[in-house]
């Protein structure tokens, strides 16, 4: 007989008054199956009503983040066999409102992201030829690329928000992924927007909320190191604050 493993899965519907609860399912324990494969087995063979997000199943689209045994994971990269003999507790990502079952509401991040101005800001005109067409690339050496590359690897999977104790307590905190993206553009040799982003981050709960727990970096499936980005920003922000005290506006 094929061996199985038990998944204890969070169920919740916004239109019912019952609080979220765990439902148990027995799924085949196969060596190449991930937690996501287990959830799809439930959906296709046992219970069509289970709701969860997924798409690429190769760790790049960022859809399938959930808390697995209390730890934020991409379920497409979490193998059932690593949790044997189980049971495995599968819950929606922590620190977010639940929308339904394993689906969380991530609209807060989507609202905060544009405030970071995560796009190239130039203080000159683009390289254009006489016809207004783009005339060549901005040069960027491999070393200049390496300076920001790590921070460009973020897939917006939200695991770092689920792991961040500060975000859990203070939803005004911009949060690890958004700050890492701000740093990604600041460090890009083609960008001139660092000051604008700092102005945003220096205010309110921007970067100051972070107490440097470092959980964000630990759970990041793409090794982005958001905690490092936040520390760099704190330094920049502190320097800026000192300048603001000492120098007249035009010289900051």
């Amino acid at each position: 007989m094929e061996s199985t493993i038990r998944l204890s899965v969070t169920r919740w519907r916004p239109d019912k008054s019952t609080p979220p609860g765990q439902q148990e399912y027995e799924v085949p324990l196969r060596k190449e199956w991930t937690v996501l494969d287990g959830l799809n087995h439930i959906k296709d063979e046992i219970d069509q009503t289970l709701a969860f997000r997924w798409s690429c199943r190769m760790g790049i689209c960022g859809s399938c983040g959930m808390n697995v045994n209390g730890e934020p994971r991409l379920t497409c990269g979490a193998f059932l066999s690593d949790y044997a003999p189980g049971p495995i507790r599968v819950e929606p990502l922590a620190n977010f409102p639940i929308a339904r079952d394993l689906v969380v509401d991530m609209s807060d991040f989507m609202k905060k992201l544009p405030r970071m101005k995560p796009w190239i800001i130039r203080d000159d005109d683009a390289l254009l030829d006489g016809d207004g067409e783009i005339d060549g690339e901005y040069l960027q050496t491999p070393e200049e690329l390496d300076a920001y590359k790590q921070f460009s690897m973020c897939i917006n999977c939200m695991l770092c928000y689920a792991a961040c104790p500060v975000y859990g307590l203070d939803p005004d905190f911009v949060g690890p992924a958004a700050i890492a993206l701000a740093e990604r553009y600041d460090l890009d040799s083609r960008d001139h927007g660092a000051r604008e982003r700092l102005d945003v981050l220096i205010e309110h709960e921007g970067v100051w909320g972070c107490t440097f727990v470092g959980e964000c970096t630990r759970v990041c499936p793409k090794h982005v190191d958001p905690a490092g980005a936040i520390q760099r920003y704190k330094l920049k922000a502190a320097q800026q604050t000192v300048k603001a005290f000492l120098l007249p506006r035009g010289m900051r």
Binding site: G59, C61, G62, A99, D105, R190
Partner: protein, 583 residues
């Protein structure tokens, strides 16, 4: 329809937020800033399948390369079925589009002096493929998405699933869509609509494609009255991981990887693809086109020269001689995927691979500006068939295609929208019909049947009928089977009674879309009694230019059955000839 059934009215509505959709949206925002633009997508834009593209994006920039050579490679790669006017426009505009992405921040891999680097790719006679290591699609998509955030006037309907186009008297006026979070069903009206929903790999059981690639835009257009073009041409990528179907990029071979059969023999030399050399040769051996490489695999299976795995026959992709440094610099994602999903390290071990459904050359019939025969309706990217890919797409042409034709479709849609009038009253009645249809579907009591078994049968049927090699008999049997599955799918009830994130409802609607696209594939394939590119028939093994140097259009008859007609291929400068690789 009551007023509150219409959520909003826009000038241009993009359906799909991947490479083509976002490029179109930005093109409109830049060229016609006064227009009201909205993007509706069933996922957050950065989840779109563009994110999974690995190897690169082709465009002429390197010294010594020419637009004519890129055009010729694409024409011959297409087995002369690509439209040469579209290909000429494509190769001309591709460099400018990739430079634009560079200016928007895409982290292209670089040469030591800071200029953009290029790599070799299958079927290309020059090194012209730009790359961001082996996560090119990921970086392009996030660059486009983040850049799109600059345009605060752009409306986004994230996680809304479009169920129908509103078409009246040959003009499109918007869509009906379900907001997944709330279950609300609403009409979103617009002067012009651009379909950019990507491909349809999930029609097959074994595919590199993501769960979301269910041919939604193709089916929406088809049911709205626009033809599907060249639907028989489905690309099998030669190197997928055996169980998951996860793509191992062609860039592995561009960097010097070898394909080995069970004897450790570089078997491609037996299939008129050139002679093996230690260093990769352009348009030769492992750098041949995907259709020919996947076909060679089938012949190796027949000769008993492949290896058996739990998941069927496999061959090996050998990267060991490339060394750890090169793999970590240029193919880090490949290493990560192999370690995670195969538990092997390509630095020291062979990668098991087999051909896997990867890309749909066919799609919604459009002209060179993305316009479909329905006024106001445009399509771009994998959803569309312009056609630049003909019977076989070359690796690294699809990402620039999303940009070039996304931008073109966006600009054309903007210009159309600027002069189009408001939606007629008939549209409201159509929207109400659609709302009732969906409510009826949700209210259907569940019976013995459900989405998953029908979907599985469809996938098995398509693998048997429309694989790398096909026959008329198998395709006809498959078409019969699809008709039964269509019938069964209309009786599927929905167990899930929740309004919020009713993913069972979405799966039922996606299944209906896939069944329509699958029917088009087989109807078109049955009509093509020849072998060309990715459409290989053992009962008609030769290319037949006299009869079939033509596109196929599939239209939906009122009774729902597919009707096939022909459309001439545009030949400008390259008369049909032999496809020569490796000699």
């Amino acid at each position: 329809m009551s007023e509150d059934a219409v959520v909003a009215d826009h000038d241009v509505l993009l359906v799909g937020g991947g490479g083509a959709g976002l490029r179109a949206a930005i093109a409109i925002a830049e060229t016609e800033p006064g227009l009201d633009v909205a993007v509706v997508s069933k996922v957050y834009p950065m989840r779109s399948h563009t994110v999974s593209a690995e190897g690169g994006a082709a465009a002429v920039i390197a010294e010594g390369d020419t637009l004519d050579e890129h055009a010729y490679d694409t024409v011959s790669g297409s087995d002369w079925l690509g439209d040469q006017d579209a290909i000429e426009a494509f190769v001309k505009e591709a460099p400018r589009e990739l430079l634009q992405l560079e200016h928007w921040g895409c982290p292209w891999s670089r040469q030591p002096d800071g200029r953009v680097a290029v790599r070799a790719f299958g079927g290309m006679k020059r090194m012209r493929t730009w790359f961001a290591a082996d996560k090119t699609g990921f970086h392009m998509l996030h660059t486009l998405f983040q850049t799109s955030l600059k345009y605060s006037g752009m409306t986004r309907y994230d996680e809304w699933f479009v169920t129908r186009l509103l078409v009246d008297e040959g003009r499109v006026h918007g869509v009906v869509a379900v907001e997944l979070a709330s279950g609300r069903i609403r009409a979103i009206t617009a002067r012009a609509v651009v379909l950019a929903t990507g491909g349809c790999g999930k029609v097959f059981p074994f595919t590199t494609n993501a769960n979301i690639n269910t041919g939604d835009g193709m089916a929406l257009a088809y049911r709205g009255g626009a033809p599907m073009k060249d639907a028989e041409f489905v690309q099998y990528h030669p190197t997928g991981l055996p169980f998951t179907g996860i793509l191992i990029t062609e860039a592995t071979r561009a960097e010097g990887g070898w394909l080995l059969n069970k004897d450790g023999y570089r078997y491609l030399q037996d299939y008129d693809l050139g002679v093996p050399t230690p260093e990769p040769q352009l348009r030769s051996m492992e750098l041949g086109p995907r259709d020919r490489l996947s076909q060679a695999f089938v012949h190796e299976v027949a000769k008993g020269r492949t290896l058996d795995s739990e998941w069927g026959p496999i061959v090996h992709l050998d990267l060991r001689h490339l060394g750890e440094k090169l793999i970590d610099t240029k193919l880090p994602f490949v290493r990560e995927l192999c370690l995670k999903y195969e538990r092997i390290d390509p630095v020291t071990e062979l990668i098991p691979v087999r051909p896997v459904v990867h890309y749909m050359m066919g799609g919604v019939h459009t002209d060179i500006d993305g316009a479909t025969p329905i006024a106001g309706l445009y399509a771009a990217g994998e959803t569309a068939c312009v056609s630049i890919n003909g019977a076989n797409r070359l690796g690294s042409n699809s990402l620039p295609e999303c940009l070039v034709f996304g931008a073109r479709a966006g600009r054309a849609a903007a210009s159309y929208a600027a002069s189009a009038g408001p939606p007629p009253a008939a549209v409201a009645a159509q929207a109400s019909d659609e709302v009732r249809r969906l409510e009826r579907l949700l209210g259907t009591p569940p019976g013995d049947d459900s989405v998953a078994p029908i979907r599985t049968e469809m996938q098995t049927t398509m693998e048997e009928a429309a694989g790398i090699y096909r026959t008329g008999a198998a395709m006809a049997a498959g078409a019969d089977r699809l008709r039964e599955l269509q019938e069964r799918s209309t009786r599927v009830g929905i167990w899930d009674t929740s309004q919020s994130f009713n993913t069972e409802l979405v799966a039922a609607l996606e299944l209906a879309n896939m069944l329509d696209v699958a029917e088009c594939m087989l109807a078109s394939g049955l009509r093509r009694e020849e072998s060309r590119g990715a459409h290989q028939r053992t009962d008609f093994p030769e290319r037949d230019d006299a009869r079939f140097l033509t596109h196929h259009l599939v239209e939906r008859d009122p009774d729902g059955s597919p009707r096939v007609s022909e459309l001439p291929v545009t030949i400008t400068r390259w008369q049909p000839g032999e496809r020569v690789y490796g000699r």
